[in-house]
Amino acid sequence: MSSLDPIHGGELSPELETALDSCVKVFMLQGFEHATLEDLANASGTSKDFLEEHFATKEQFCAAALRWYFTKFYRQLRSVLALHSELYPAVEAVLYEFIELSREQYTAGTALRFHTLMDIVELDEELSAELRALKVEGMDHFTSKFTQCKGELHDHEEALALAQYYATVFEGLSVMVQHGMSHNDLYKMASLSLEVLSNHLRKAN
């Protein structure tokens, strides 16, 4: 059994999800260099044996936490994207789904410290590469939707830039959720951003 199996496919038990979040807090307070699997076990209310069974090292733990975080989001967003063949309804649905997922994590109190985890992994070469690969993988899928639907745009060459713009909007929304922006305002942000796509669609759309 691979050490990453517990989170394969983005599925994770609520216990392990809480454990992962507690562990990121340990990294923040104790430091990545100093934290041991024992510290992580104490913080998460699990046993050292349990963690060692799943993660051989704290680097593997970080990689797993990152994969969990991104897989959970991207898998859900991919399935929403696949439901819509036209670009506008697809982007609209993904924006709304993204808001809901981000708010769920905010309300549950998890993922608040994932920015710190991401800054930690940036200081480790292998983990940094893993983080970029995960983000690029998620981004590529979204970009490919714009490329597939470029025929719907006035200017086909705008497809990539529009995809990057929406990636920016997703990141911005994620931060605004953490800043406590209201549900209503988050939806207004999504609606405003959709005007950009609307202005780039051919009239027939």
């Binding site: 991401m118 930690i120 830039a161 800043h179």
Partner: protein, 210 residues
């Protein structure tokens, strides 16, 4: 003399080096576990010099957070003052923001604001500094939209458009961290301005030069 007062007296490069290194030390050694000596060693300065200016980690972290916010907001404040109309002001603001992010990276500094914010969740001194700074930063954008309200088809859109620009700025920061090029970010900024353009009474001349 407070930690905040001491900043202007010291060479900016030295202060910025300390603020950049302290985050790296926090991440590797832990915010709770690290000592001021660890930070001084990483930043290449004397521990006594550091402690004289920032007696505690909380004060150092709050000062570092303040430094980052002031760095961004002073540039943006001047752009907002130079450009009278809202479109030009926001275009200049977004471009200035992108440039500051890239300047940070090109001088070997990290983009660590999120970690500071996460630390604010476990340190009340840092939390207070963060809340004041974030409110001040958002107020700058909001104030400009309020001043230019009459340029909008619907003047009541001023507040929500200010929130939109702040959302875009937060997103730009993350994409720069992800390694997108400056040109891509300029292009994204121009696309984002499309929203403001459609809300203006009289539209905008073709001024997109990138």
């Amino acid at each position: 003399m407070t930690a905040r007062d001491s900043i202007p007296d010291d060479p900016p490069e030295k202060v910025e080096e300390i603020f950049d290194k302290c985050v790296r030390v926090f991440l590797l050694k832990g915010y709770k576990s690290c000592t001021m000596d660890d930070i001084a060693q990483a930043a290449g300065c004397e521990p006594d010099w550091l402690k004289e200016r920032y007696p505690t980690k909380s004060e150092l972290t709050a000062a570092a957070l303040r430094w980052y916010y002031i760095k961004y907001s002073s540039n943006i404040r001047s752009e907002l003052a130079i450009h009278q109309d809202i479109y030009a002001a926001m275009e200049a603001t977004l471009f200035a923001f992108i440039d500051i992010c890239f300047d940070q990276l090109e001088t070997g500094r990290g983009l660590f604001v999120r970690t500071f914010i996460d630390i604010s969740n476990v340190d009340d001194t840092v939390l207070q500094a963060y809340q004041e700074l974030q409110d001040g930063w958002e107020a700058q954008i909001l104030e400009k939209f309020s001043l230019c309200r009459s340029e909008l088809k619907n003047p009541e859109d001023a507040e929500i458009l200010a929130c939109y620009v702040i959302t875009v700025i937060e997103g730009l920061y993350e994409l720069v961290k992800l390694g997108k090029s400056r040109e891509v970010m300029y292009k994204v900024a121009i696309l984002s301005l499309n929203v403001i353009e459609t809300k203006l009474k009289y539209g905008q001349p073709d001024r997109h030069s990138g």
